[in-house]
């Protein structure tokens, strides 16, 4: 592996697939990401407005699913691992450093605002669709879940059909 270069995509795919397979074999569940964000949000809400946390239905559901504490969730630990793993990979391939990536014709400010809006849409959609690209699409494909595969097609179909409208963000 030359430093600074990305791994062959098929090799990286097999590696990722084996990590997912090991996860399913050991734990009986797939990988995920958006669930960890939910845990952080629930923890924040509980800390700031405890009475609201007690009364709102969505947080009541969350609390009953996580009886041992808001942050004691499989995905929270997994995402901590993701941060560590990505950091190790970044160090090995010499890609660490504060950096902002954007299309050639937008300002830094536009990029940051777009990232926040995009994140908000993705976060909202992931809750409605019961999982994001990791938990629903990738893990769903591996276990042949119809729901996961439909969500995957909706994500990529949605992005493709909107790509033309947002090309100013990414292309010259």
């Amino acid at each position: 592996m030359k430093s600074n270069q990305y791994m062959n995509p098929y090799l990286a795919g097999i590696l990722l697939g084996l990590v997912l397979l090991a996860t399913v074999y050991i734990t009986g569940r797939g990988l995920g990401a958006s669930g960890a964000v939910k845990s952080v949000v629930a923890t924040g809400v509980k800390a700031v407005t405890p009475s609201h946390y007690e009364s709102a239905v969505a947080y009541q559901d969350y609390a009953s699913e996580h009886p041992d504490g808001t942050m004691k969730s499989w995905l929270v630990f997994e995402i901590l691992g993701v941060i560590i793993g990505a950091f190790i990979s970044g160090v090995l391939s010499d890609r660490i450093g504060l950096k902002l990536e954007k299309g050639p014709s937008v300002t830094n400010k536009t990029r940051i605002i777009a990232a926040v809006i995009g994140g908000a849409l993705f976060g909202f959609g992931s809750q409605l669709g019961r999982g994001c690209t990791s938990g629903s699409a990738l893990s769903g494909m591996a276990v042949m879940s119809l729901g996961g595969i439909v969500t995957m097609m909706a994500i990529f179909g949605g992005a493709y059909s909107l790509a033309w409208f947002f090309k100013r963000l990414w292309l010259k």
Binding site: G35, I88, S126, S136, A163
Partner: protein, 399 residues
């Protein structure tokens, strides 16, 4: 047999597994280039198809691996989480995520990855996704009806198309391989790279494409390990080498009323059938679950004799043979099926006008046995059942 959680690895230790698997996940994503928003978005503008290649390769690898492990009897897919399908929220949620993808340039997993190596835009995306989740939680009362509409349960795509798992796997693998070739050609056109039509490259492509297909054909063409074991046992039983030992209803009743504590009576019918009638002291393990790891100790113990009965003698014999395969040397199969047993003891036939002495003796024995078995059942059911396994909850998903 997997999944290893919770029988072999405890639920608490599972959090450490989560951390370790996360490290692998993050490492693979970052190495693949998913920490670069330009690479991710390249998929939608045709200049970089890394995402599609990595994503499909990973999905197909894991899918084939899961099939292979379950084929070899190493993974019980009954206990693997399958995402439930809610038609409307899956589609609308997916499209909103797609919009988030093209506007924000990341998805949640990749944004965390990119933020970990210092990408400022990814940090903004993570912040945004927290806001999005928060908005959903706050708006939940308004969305709840839509969110829970059209519940289809955990449908498998293979069941939806009414094909076998391996057929679907072969189809998806072929689609993925064709997609890889197609996007490579598109990318070369968009970026003006030269296509590599060398013989060595074509050979390499074919060789790597053949591997997953070969594994899937092996899975489709050979019996699963469970089928193989059962066929082997039945073949042996037919030649008389390893026929299950039988016990008849009267003998069983006699043993139950005199030393019920020396027997484990196992009802291999469904839960409903078991609930409507079962022989005194019997526990319920449906036939298809007998192979599960949690029942092995039952077969290996030498203190009590296991007696199997079900809807037919052949089912009971299968259970008995299966138990023997897993270490049960003394197991017995009941000659009569559950209904016959019930009729013998609880709905006895009227005797003829001039019953023989033997007929009378049997009738008397069965009447008193029926009473005693009822007494034993009441006595036993007030004690804790000897081996009632807790139902395992399949966990997973994004919550």
């Amino acid at each position: 047999m997997g999944p290893l959680v919770p029988d072999i690895i405890s639920n608490e230790f599972n959090y450490l597994i989560a951390l370790i698997m996360g490290i692998g996940f993050g490492f693979a994503l970052e190495q693949a280039g998913f920490s670069s928003t330009k690479k991710l978005v390249g998929l939608f503008y045709g200049y970089d198809f890394t995402v599609l290649k990595v994503f499909f390769t990973a999905g197909v690898t894991a899918m084939i691996g899961i099939l292979l492990l379950s084929h070899l009897g190493l993974l019980n897919i009954e206990f693997v989480f399958v995402n439930p399908f809610f038609v409307r929220s899956a589609i609308v949620g997916g499209i909103i995520m797609g919009a988030g993808f093209i506007v924000g340039g990341f998805c949640p997993g990749t944004s965390v990855c990119a933020a970990a190596i210092g990408k400022v835009d990814a940090m903004a995306f993570v912040l945004g996704s927290g806001m999005g989740v928060w908005a959903f939680m706050e708006a939940f009362p308004l969305l709840e009806e839509f969110y829970k509409a059209d519940a289809q349960g955990a449908v498998l795509i293979s069941d939806f198309f009414n094909v076998s798992r391996s057929t679907w796997a072969i189809l998806l693998t072929i689609v993925a391989l064709l997609a890889f070739v197609a996007v490579t050609l598109v990318q070369q056109k968009v970026t003006n790279e030269k296509a590599d039509w060398s013989r060595a490259n074509i050979f390499k492509t074919v060789k790597w494409s053949a591997l997953p297909i070969a594994i899937l054909i092996f899975i489709a063409a050979t019996p699963t390990r469970d089928e193989f074991v059962m066929a082997k046992l039945e073949k042996k039983a037919k030649t008389g080498k390893c026929a299950p030992k039988l016990i008849d209803a009267d003998k069983l009743a006699y043993e139950l009323i005199n030393n019920y504590y020396a027997y484990n009576l196992i009802d291999i019918r469904s839960k409903e059938e078991y609930d409507s009638f079962h022989i005194a002291t019997a526990i319920n393990i449906p036939l298809e679950q007998l192979k599960n790891l949690e029942y092995r100790p039952l077969f290996r113990q030498r203190i009590k004799t296991n007696v199997f009965y079900g809807v037919s003698l052949s089912d009971a014999s299968r259970a008995c043979l299966l138990a023997r395969y897993h270490g049960d040397v003394n197991g017995l199969a009941l000659k009569e099926n559950a209904d016959q047993f019930y009729q013998l003891f609880f709905l006895p036939k009227m005797l003829g006008a001039t019953p023989t002495k033997q007929e009378l003796t049997i009738k008397l024995f069965r009447e008193s046995a029926a009473r005693k078995m009822e007494e034993i059942e009441t006595a036993v059911s007030s004690m804790s059942k000897p081996i009632e396994k807790k139902v395992r909850v399949v966990q997973g998903g994004c919550s």
